[in-house]
Amino acid sequence: MTRRRLALVGAVLLVAACVERLTAPGRCPDYCPSGQITIVDTLLTTSINRDSSYRGYVLAYEAALMLAAHVPGTTDTLDSRPIFRINGYGSRLRISTADTSTGAILGADSARLQLYVLRRDTATHNLTLRFYRLPITIDSSTTFGSVVPFTDSLRSVNIDTLLAQPGRKDTLTGDSVVVDTINNRLVLSLKLDSVAARYVGTDSGTVAYGLRIAADTPASIALGKGSIGPVLQWYLRADSLGTPVARKPGALGAAFASFVFAPPPAPLDSTLAVGGVPSARSLLRVTFPKVIRDSSQIIRATLFLVPAVRARGAPADSFVIEARTVLADFGGKSPIDARVGDTTVIHVGATDTVKTDTVKIEVTNLLQLWAADSTHPTAILLRAQAEAQFLGEIRFYPSIAPAFRPTLQVTFVRAFPFGEP
């Protein structure tokens, strides 16, 4: 029995003894392997060629946001105005929930318009929103010139004043604002009186509004669309067997939401345009050296781009551009490889030096993918990460500008000399 216990203890000890701990500090070169990790850093100045730009991927009415901006420039003013249309209930309204009888809509007592402000610069003061009534015919073909100037003014609201009110409610105008700190946005609720909220039965109650902004400094905000787009709550009067009755039907969302702006983006030229509305992309084709592809491990790759035209906009319009690779090189219609990408921020309107500062994008992931898959096209596609959600567009010097052409700096490791004593 004692021997069995001893055997058991011995077996346990034997198992416990099978533990490896071999990691020790090395003192090189005396007590290190003769082979070392060799790092090479090289600047590929002529590897990017046949670059070109394309525009029109995301149009204003396809954008996820409505952009409002008023940014005075030295020669012109960037003016962007959201426009949206909300279809009505028609000329008649169901009077009772008990039956299907309807009554003619006599008019509106008031309405409440709700807007989501998704992006704004808190450093911009006296931010004022001015609302205008627009023709209900606005659609995706509407241009800045076809609706501007806005003439039928409804009312205006100063966001800073409203935020300063107790409870963020203006008891005089009936406006209120909710600060959603979780989603980092403002929910604006504006009261439209019977004059501003004009329900026209012959137009089926359809209304269209336009919006301008102004502030003490260059101003730029973004309003929500779709599920977080404009919502209109009508307070109507309907005819119930000759008696006007008040009704509050369900709130209505925007059937169409877009924005118009001026001046339009400059036509594409030989420079590499990225961003803007409609969104522009640039394709850079890279000659990937075989010495890097075949026998090394890339640990860092940086794309250097020299801006030719600075991005316009307010500081809040700083945007992110991303470098991605493509699954196949079909020029402007190249399908994007969504697996890997690298990004950098374009700081809009920070200082004048932005114009001359070189933009660096870490593209290590892309080059590692190329090294791993030799069949992958070696092309870099530059685009705004949120296309058509910023008015800013940056243009870089192309490869035909020898002094400012795009370059790649690649840091890679040569194959370790395994097996050498």
């Binding site: 990691t23 500090p25 005396d30 007590y31 290190c32 392997p33 990790i37 490791v413």
Partner: protein
């Protein structure tokens, strides 16, 4: 009486099963001898081709031990089919550059089977560690990259060894003379990795790995001479060709391996006391720069104490790889005991070894405690 027979027979079977498990179940990567930082720069750390019994005597009994794979001639006296295996756990303190690291490893450095095939002929097959190549070192350093000093940590690892697979034959020519010869196939592999992690995460980590395969060939011969009753002289020699390293079927290095020769003297004045001494020379310097020819010697004794022999020994010598112009040295003391079970059909040997290795300039010192366990079965 019958019950006692059944009991001892059962033990023998159990021990044989345990030995078989030892011989077959251990993973090849663990078939290495003893790790050392001195082997990182060179080919590796040479293994000890000794059974636990011989190693407990400092290695002095190895030239006379049929279960050690140092010489072949003692196989002539093995008498019956015998299998053996050895395992050891080492606790190693490495002092280098003002820091000390406590390391630990478990190895199974020797396995073999031997037995007579005729009245005067015995054969053996087995393997032992020729070169241990398991290590893991890290170092902190910096490099100027893109005009900025980038700090990083490198970690280089190697896990594996080169095994010496031996086929040996021995014959007792006369009462005084026995001879033996063996062929050795060197084979093994190491899984090597090289990693670099930068403090600045903008630089991705470097991670490369490869499996390096090794092969080589060697021959050996040995002789035992009975000089007088209780006095035996042993001599042996061995020559290995070269060690070829291949990475992905491409030869990355070919290194000449040493020739070696050694001898020993065994003195047994009585059945209960045996003394031995041995010396070995190896021409490791032909392995390239940073390699040295080595001498080593050992002396030991074994005393029969009832059914449990007590062994002790000491050895000293040189390590083949190291920096500078002088070979690193090592010195060790050891002791051990043995115990026979199942009417002598199974033997367990336990040994304890204290070893110190030191570089010429004292830049590296290793102090090692090793616990050894050997199992021998004679079914």
């Amino acid at each position: 009486m019958k019950r006692a027979d059944r009991c001892t027979g059962g033990r023998a079977v159990g021990t044989a099963v345990l030995a078989a498990a030892f011989l077959t179940a251990s993973p090849p990567v663990r078939l290495s001898g003893q790790d050392s930082q001195f082997g990182i720069r060179g080919l590796g750390t040479p293994g000890r081709w000794e059974s636990v019994r011989s190693r407990s005597t400092g290695g002095a009994f190895a030239p006379f031990d049929p279960l050690s794979q140092l010489t072949e001639a003692p196989l002539a006296d093995i008498g019956q089919l015998t299998a053996t295996a050895a395992g050891g756990t080492s606790h190693r303190d490495v002092a280098v550059g003002g820091t000390t690291a406590a390391l630990r490893s478990t190895r199974f450095p020797l396995m073999g089977v031997a037995g007579p095939v005729g009245p005067r002929l015995a054969v053996a097959a087995g393997f032992t560690t020729y070169l241990d190549k398991s290590w893991d070192v890290w170092m902190r350093d910096s490099v100027l990259l893109r005009d900025v000093l980038q700090r990083y940590i490198d970690e280089l690892t190697s896990d594996g060894s080169v095994a010496d697979v031996r086929l040996a034959v021995a014959s007792r020519l006369s009462r005084r003379i026995a001879i033996g010869a063996g062929v050795h196939v060197l084979a093994g592999s190491t899984r090597m990795t090289a990693e670099r992690r930068f403090d600045d995460s903008t630089f991705h980590s470097v991670q490369q790995s490869a499996e390096v395969r090794y092969d080589g060939f060697g021959v050996s011969g040995s002789v035992l001479l009975g000089l007088a009753p209780g006095l035996t002289l042993s001599g042996w020699a061995r020559s290995d060709s070269r060690l070829r390293a291949k990475v992905a079927d491409t030869t990355s290095a070919v290194t000449d391996l040493p020739r070696m020769a050694g001898g020993g003297l065994l003195f047994a004045p009585s059945p209960s006391a045996r003394f031995a001494a041995s010396a070995v020379w190896r021409s490791w310097s032909q392995a390239g720069a940073g390699a040295f020819d080595t001498w080593s010697w050992s002396a030991g004794a074994e005393f029969a104490f009832r059914r449990m022999p007590i062994r002790l020994g000491a050895r000293s010598g040189q390590m083949p790889f190291g920096p500078g112009t002088k070979a690193p040295t090592e010195v060790a003391g050891s002791l051990g005991i043995g115990r026979a079970f199942a009417q002598g059909r199974a033997l367990i040997d336990v040994g304890l070894e204290r070893l110190e290795r030191r570089a010429g300039g004292g830049s590296l010192t290793e102090r090692v405690w090793t616990v050894l366990v050997g199992l021998t079965v004679r079914p």
